[in-house]
Symmetry: C2
Subunit: 682 residues, 2 copies
């Protein structure tokens, strides 16, 4: 399927036109301009010649079933065209025409009809309201210019056609290469996740290693997750934008592609679990794609060598890298001496290396040769910056960088600041396969996003003592909010610890309470325990406990005491919430009286891998509090992680759980207990 | 002075050369290329003709004292050249030559010698190691291309010559206009603040309204503060970069311009007090400068109308604006109806307005005309976005935007995405004075920086009950850490409240304690009170107090009790720290056991205006805690503000105070007390 989309043997344009301001005319022009090696069929009721190519009056008259057909006729004629193409035997149909779901319910209904027809005939339907497909082999797109794509470049799958064009222009200006641009428009049948699935299914060893996406709604989160994770495992690095996440943004998206608002927390958790770097703007996406392209899969280290010919940019880059947790390690004596030997007096030879603007290309060549020998085990990337002070031949400098991009064992990341005065050499640099940044601070930010990208892990499938069968029995027939007793039993059976408690009818039982002091003792019998002074906390020893027993039993209606283990320590909350289409979001955050005020909570999609649970714990702002303050012991992170994993398992195994809250979860070290809990089932 | 710098009647190049790869040669070429209306004098020992202009063999032989002289000879000849120019009567000398402070102590000494000579002769010295000056009237810069500047554009004063060039190229590509570029290099005599002072001194009604700066060290923070505040008051909007603020960055800066590391907290507080928007990258500075230019001083509102011809960018802009606290208000029925009338079916008429890519310039003209009539009181800015789908004449669209930039009562901010396919019309747009963004998300971020820019306020000069004379008496002769008693008296005299306390020798005195319960009672006499059970907290009434008295007096050596008011409530810390060159930084943050762990503290330069104290309080992350959690009353912000203002006054009036800490400051409502305090004096 993918090959038919990227490299079809034949393409048909339904609604071809001589008028290039019309979609069908522009589409025809673009295909012709870019060139297409297969058979191009134009369809127009008037027949004749269009833009120099023979046009067929109708689809049935076409000499063969086009592998890829694009429909650019008015909305009301689209259904017939699709039916005719399906009957003819076409398996990929792209509907460019607008006037569907983005206009309201009627258009939405017509979209559903198109999807139904396509699915019935086993046709992949893209659109309606999309701008087409452009690949290394054809430019079947009706907006934008016909750009030169390159097999093996980046794949870009987008819900917005214009975003493809606008991103492409910026990306091409920076030397990025694309394998394909694919737009899905209103996603009547197939959205971005469906197309990702096609790319994944046909992924081979020579397939592109970078994929980027733009979505206003995620039509099928589970499919997105599955395809992205699968591509990740095959070595593809992914980044994307999910727009329309604020109220204003989703109002804008609704009128654009009919996208519906989604919970941004769920979206972020989805991207994290899918291993997709999430950004908010086209230029950020271009920057991240540039890093992904330049580092060639080597993007885990945090040590950077800087080679610059101007001081200021070296300072700003060093600052930003430091702020982002990267190192710009100082070079050792021998490296400095070797650099000093080949550079003019006054040059910087530590890190950054400042070659000075008066250094010719030969100096850069020497510097890079020395660095890849001397610091290849000390740094993970070399950023090469060159401006144009008007004194050197920048084309010569760029050629050196280009050469080292191929031969250096350390990825080379070029940053070229003189976008106007070096316009010509920069164009030449792009033509020989160069790719570069225009601002070193943005470079650092993109590098940080890539190095800190979410990794994919295998979720835990079981946990010691987690008894799925028994939980099923406990939950059997339950509805709504579970009773405290069932809640406790379900969670204990899942392996969650509660403070110990025993109900005593006899004072003598106090000696056999199976947990340590301090205790809480509550009178049993009276309904409003607190009102009658029936709750005592901080009981320190058996002597005090016996005194308290005597006191409590004096209360009217007292029938015994409930003895509970008293838990001290930091408080956190752990919860889970079902998000339609996404599964369950597991929440982790600071608990206690600050929960509401500080809203320091993070989310991840269930089930969780240990590493995801760790990431959750480490992502809250209040992390230092969990480690213990003022000499108090902190909470053991392995224990917290274990609870998170168990909660993730529980909600995955029992999707009927709508909401679940452990609040607070409290303790020191490994002694972490759930003091209160709540489960809602439907 | 400023006019002589920007529009000198005569310029001399000392070290002029035929070789344009040498600074003196390049400088001469740039001046000639750009054109200069005054007298240009070249000096070279060989005399003759250089680049077609007569050269004088020596400075004394020049026919007049050049108003502006630039020295481009090797470092060792610079001192003589400066002396000769001073003797000749030149009042502005720019030393381009490198080889001074950036090389080490010897160079630093030579710099000092140059500064001394210049100052003795009343000469303004810029450099050494700078790249010169470029203004609307001359291009006396040896790096970069000779750009076309425009009187009334932006002034850019920079510590890095290359940064001027690199920023300029990006800025010019976006249509920004510059009045002057000025580089100060190593700032031997005059740094960025000194030059700002000159611009301020000669600021007139027609002077530029936007100034940007780049500094690696702030050579004179007080002068920077004064000049920036003064310019601000004259309506100039300022933004700048201070680089070299991390360890790696300052190491890079040291080898670049010899800049020393400074405390970044102090730098941020300085920028805030000076009313200068701080950014970290050149492109961010370009973006902020573009907003400052486009909004023409109208940059306080948070309501945005969006007009786009493509959906995706409208969605991303709406999202980012929302995230940043801006509104994209939905238009009312009448506005929507009027827009629908002039736009094709399927166009968006709410906000964003989506004209669709098939709308010609005439539609944009109608839309903007309707908006400035209908929503001029509902929005503060109109963002106009146009891409190039290849179907419309973008030059016509840009001309409409350009026209409305002039006539619209609401500032128009253009954002044009098609940087490649619209290259030609964009160039024409710049030529007719257009200025634009290339990414709408970056646009939103820059707008947010501008709207949230620090404002300047007049610090409080006194406070009710603040007795400066008495504090002076108390501090007279003090050194090192003040005693608890003196600390308390100093702070109380400044108007800071402490919890009440009385020392009692007689039990009868308990009835006359002048503050409310609860109390803390501490035995007097024994040294280690806690060890002997001599501290009791939470005493609720007189009965309990009398019982505690009896208990405490039983302790060996007991001579009475110290009775203290017990304070409950949220804890904050308030402090002050002297930062050499900057004055005192007043600190405000979350107190209690979380101080160390959460490090939630912000700083402002003393003395404080009420508004600055407010900004401090509102800038900490834990702000919601101060407002009260779980039904507890919060802290009264006016009371907190008052304490901050008093602390600002105290350290300003008594600069000998090196450190001061009120920790914790605690309470509810207006009853906020300093429970513990510490003052260090030198």
């Amino acid at each position: 399927m993918l090959k038919n989309l990227l490299e079809p043997k034949s393409i048909a344009v339904i609604g071809a036109s001589e008028d290039v301001t019309k979609p069908g005319g522009r589409l025809t022009l673009n295909i012709l301009t870019k060139g297409f090696a297969g058979n191009l069929y134009l369809v127009n009721p008037k027949g004749g010649m269009i833009q120099g190519v023979k046009a067929y009056p109708s689809i049935p008259e076409l000499p063969e079933a086009p592998e890829l057909a694009l429909i650019g006729v008015p909305a009301k004629f689209v259904r017939t065209a699709l039916e005719e193409l399906a009957a003819k035997g076409s398996k990929i149909v792209v509907v460019l025409s607008a006037g569907f779901g983005e206009l309201g319910p009627e258009g939405k209904a017509e979209e559903r009809a198109l999807a139904e027809i396509a699915t019935r005939h086993g046709v992949l339907l893209l659109g309606p309201n999309c701008s087409g497909v452009m690949t290394y082999a054809h430019a079947s797109k009706f907006t934008g210019v016909a750009l030169k794509l390159e097999k093996g470049g980046i794949d870009f799958i987008s819900g917005s056609g214009a975003t493809v064009d606008f991103l492409a222009e910026h990306a091409m200006r920076r030397g990025l290469k694309f394998n394909s641009f694919l737009t899905v428009g209103n996603s009547a049948q197939s959205g971005v996740p469906d197309v990702m699935e096609i790319y994944d299914a046909d992924h081979g060893p020579d397939s592109p290693k970078v994929m980027i996406t733009y979505q206003e709604s995620i039509v099928n989160p589970q499919k997105f997750l599955k395809a992205a994770r699968s591509l990740n495992k095959k070595g593809v690095l992914l980044a994307g934008i999910k727009a329309g996440t604020t109220q204003a943004g989703s109002r804008a998206a609704a009128s654009h592609t009919g996208a519906m608002a989604t919970n941004d927390t769920a979206v972020q958790a989805l991207f994290d679990k899918a291993g997709v770097i999430r950004v908010d703007s086209r230029l950020e996406l271009v920057d991240v794609a540039a890093i992904l392209t330049l580092v060639k899969g080597r993007a885990d280290g945090r040590r950077v060598a800087i080679v610059t010919d101007a001081g200021g940019p070296g300072v700003m880059l060093s600052d930003e890298l430091s702020r982002l947790g990267f190192e710009v390690p100082a070079f050792n004596e021998r490296t400095r001496a070797r650099l000093a030997e080949v550079l003019p007096a006054g040059a910087g030879v530590g890190n950054p290396v400042d070659t000075l603007p008066t250094s010719p290309a030969a100096n850069l060549e020497k510097v890079l040769s020395i660095l890849i020998e001397e610091v290849k085990d000390q740094v993970d990337y070399i950023v090469v910056m060159n401006g144009d002070a008007g004194m050197m031949d920048n084309w010569a400098l760029y050629q050196v960088a280009r050469k080292f991009m191929d031969i250096s064992p350390i990825p080379i990341i070029p940053s070229y600041e003189s976008v106007l005065s070096s316009e010509v050499p920069l164009k030449k640099f792009r033509e020989i396969g160069g790719c570069y940044f225009e601002d070193e601070v943005y470079l650092a930010r993109a590098l940080s996003r890539v190095v800190n990208r979410p990794r994919i892990y295998e979720p835990e499938k079981s946990a010691v003592g987690y008894d799925k069968k028994k939980i099923a029995e406990l939950l059997n027939g339950c509805h709504g909010a579970l009773s405290p007793q069932i809640t406790r039993e379900v969670l204990q059976t899942a392996g969650v610890r509660f403070p110990g408690q025993v109900e005593l009818r006899e004072k003598a039982g106090l000696k056999d309470v199976p947990f340590a002091f301090p205790w809480v003792m509550k009178v049993m019998g009276p309904l409003h325990k607190s009102d009658v002074g029936g709750v005592r906390v901080g009981i320190k020893d058996i002597k005090e406990a016996e005194m308290v027993w005597d006191d409590l039993l004096k209360i009217k209606d007292a029938s015994g005491t409930l003895v509970q283990q008293m838990v001290k320590g930091t408080e956190v909350i752990i919860g889970a919430n079902r998000e339609p289409g996404y599964g369950h979001l597991v929440a982790f955050g600071l608990g206690g009286i600050y929960t509401e005020a500080l809203k320091d909570v993070k989310f991840a999609l269930a089930p969780l891998a240990k590493e995801e649970a760790d990431r959750l714990i480490h992502s809250i702002r209040s992390l230092p509090l969990l480690k213990g303050v003022r000499g108090e012991p902190g909470m053991d992170f392995e224990t917290l992680r274990d609870i998170l994993v168990r909660i993730g398992l529980l909600v995955t195994d029992f999707p009927a759980i709508q909401e679940l809250d452990l609040n607070p979860v409290k303790g020191y070290g490994k002694d972490i207990f759930t003091v209160d809990a709540r489960i809602l089932v439907d």
